[in-house]
């Protein structure tokens, strides 16, 4: 089974729009939305929910004030200053390390496991999809990404499908690391701006760090030809396969407003030709 993960470093370069377009072209695949903190793929896929599962994160300290003797040991040990002078734990600040729980001489601190999100198995007009929703202000996004990818693999195996297309999160931190490890390849969607170039370089370094082959496409390439060339030059120097360019076109926004993928919306246009070409290059790279 092959897994393509679409990432970008910088947010808003068009990861989800392009990934959704690939979803309409690819066959025998499972779709996976690994951008669990700001998942948007479902807005284009209109998923029909089949299963809903709770996501259990780590524990959070809760002090039982009846048992607490206010010795202050927990406050001394907590490295996140999460415990107030009144011995109330700030659940947003609590890291879930449980050190206060283990050291409290009165055993006055409970450590309930939090449900900090949910994940779903759905059907869409383009095939099965796994997606998730991390609770607001929650931690453990990497852990939820790992679950979503693992479940997508299971679903693909069960349905004898040989491809996973995963929409990744922006950045290079915890959820991105959880998204790229073990993937067959990543596609970096870059935009031709100084920020786009800077961020693409970092995310390409991340892919190399985890030994995942990278490809790149430049979205909205005609907004700045110099930056497009700079991105492609950087890609060549780093053995990153250039799979194509997509022009700037308001049809991306127009189709999004209608809840459609861009290829469902446009006729025979430059956009369609460029995305078809990119998908063909990706298929060749993945040897599908």
């Amino acid at each position: 089974m092959k897994e393509l993960v679409v990432i970008s470093g910088k947010g808003g370069t068009g990861k989800t729009s392009l990934m959704a377009a690939f979803a309409s072209l690819a066959e025998n695949k499972v779709l996976c939305d690994a951008d669990v903190d700001a998942a948007d793929l479902h807005l284009l896929m209109d998923p029909e929910l089949k299963e809903r599962h709770d996501f259990q994160g780590g524990g959070t300290a809760v002090i039982d004030t009846d048992r607490c003797i206010e010795c202050g040991l927990c406050r001394d040990l907590c490295r996140w200053d999460a415990i107030s002078e009144a011995f109330i734990v700030d659940s947003i600040e609590c890291e879930g390390c449980g050190v206060c729980v283990d050291f409290c001489p009165e055993e006055a601190i409970d450590f309930p496991i939090k449900t900090c999100g949910e994940w779903f198995i759905s059907n869409t007009r383009f095939g099965p999809m796994i997606h998730a929703r991390l609770g607001i202000a929650e931690e453990n996004s990497g852990k939820l990404v790992a679950i979503v990818r693992q479940e997508a693999k299971k679903l693909a195996e069960k349905n004898k499908l040989d491809l996973l297309i995963t929409d990744g999160p922006p950045g290079v931190g915890c959820p991105v690391i959880a998204s790229v490890g073990g993937a067959s390849a990543v596609l970096v969607v870059a935009e031709p701006t100084v920020s786009g170039l800077h961020d693409m370089e970092r995310v390409a370094q991340l892919a190399a760090h985890f030994k995942v082959p990278a490809m790149v496409c430049v979205n909205k390439f005609d907004l700045n030809f110099d930056q497009t060339e700079a991105i492609e030059k950087l890609a060549k120097e780093n053995n990153i396969r250039i799979v194509g360019r997509v022009p700037f076109d308001p049809v991306f926004t127009e189709s999004m407003v209608l809840g459609q993928t861009v290829l469902e919306y446009v006729g025979n246009s430059e956009i369609r030709r460029s995305i078809n070409g990119i998908w063909q290059n990706i298929r060749n790279q993945l040897t599908l």
Binding site: K10, G11, V99, V194
Partner: protein, 278 residues
């Protein structure tokens, strides 16, 4: 006053708003780029960097001479960053959250702490504007401690503008907590609206006053405006889609410098915020 610029969705224009606002307001302003995974503000500010320092987070180091292999360290660690196999202690520094539990629990005092590099902090300035950003080491997963390090440079006698990362989870919270105002930047599209709603819920949780900038305000549809009205989220500025703005941004230039008519609009935006914060 601390103003944090956040969005939920990436690429809506946080950095554009943060950098242009900071530059419009003259001196006694500092800009903290807390998007440490993909910091971009420096590309527009071009600060003179005066100080560059590596930032480390403590991780355990075991003295096997002193260790009696009691496994208490492995038992207390909720992040599975230590394991004891017979007479060998293995640590996994990349999993460690630096809670110090293992150091405290070790009866033989065999554990000390060494550092895992999180990334670097750079401090500089551009004309009167003070500038600080962090850059997460590629391969490092945990950005919140580096964000907190950037924020530790907040000066209470200055106006502080924070460029926050996208999303709604712990890094964003680290960049918004304790701010006096959160300025949300979105675009009027279904993705922009969906992620704005999540970000607004996060700001509500922190009980911080908030307002909205709608970027590329003439694309998409009206649903962001309808939502803002329903939420009593004041729309403080609208930036229409303008190919010139997109090009200025793509070259790493500032809108307020290339299109000076915008300077007054960013100043007005600040006055609006001042009125709300009081």
């Amino acid at each position: 006053m601390i103003i944090s610029i956040a969005s939920g969705k990436g690429g809506t224009g946080k950095t554009t708003v943060a950098t242009n606002l900071a530059v419009s307001l003259g001196s006694d302003v500092q800009l903290l780029d807390c998007d440490v995974e993909e910091p971009n503000a420096h590309l527009f500010i071009n600060p003179v960097i005066e100080l560059n320092k590596k930032v480390f987070t403590p991780v355990p180091q075991i003295d096997e001479e002193k260790c009696n292999f009691c496994k208490k360290c492995a038992q207390i660690c909720r992040f599975r960053a230590i394991t004891v196999i017979k007479e060998t202690v293995l640590t996994f520094p990349e999993l460690c959250h630096s809670c110090g539990g293992c150091v405290e629990v070790c009866p033989e005092k065999a554990i000390t702490e060494t550092g895992r590099e999180l990334g670097v902090i750079e401090i500089g300035h551009r004309n009167g504007l003070a500038f600080v950003h962090g850059r997460l080491r590629v391969g490092e997963a945990m950005s919140p401690p580096l964000i907190r390090e950037v924020r530790s440079h907040t000066r209470s006698d200055q106006l502080t503008i924070i460029d926050a990362p996208p999303g709604t989870s712990c890094p964003v919270i680290a960049a918004m907590k304790g701010a006096d105002f959160v300025l949300m930047v979105t675009e009027p599209t279904p993705f922009g609206l969906h992620d704005l709603k999540l970000a607004v819920e996060a700001v509500k949780l922190l009980e911080i006053p908030r307002g909205l900038v709608i970027n590329r305000s003439d694309i998409g549809n009206d649903s962001v405006r309808t939502y803002a009205k329903m939420e009593n989220l004041p729309i403080l500025m609208e930036i229409p889609f303008d190919r010139r703005i997109a090009e200025v941004y793509s070259k790493g230039k500032l809108v307020v410098e290339e299109m000076p008519e915008w300077k007054e609009r960013f100043r007005k935006l600040y006055l609006h915020i001042q009125e709300i914060v009081g």
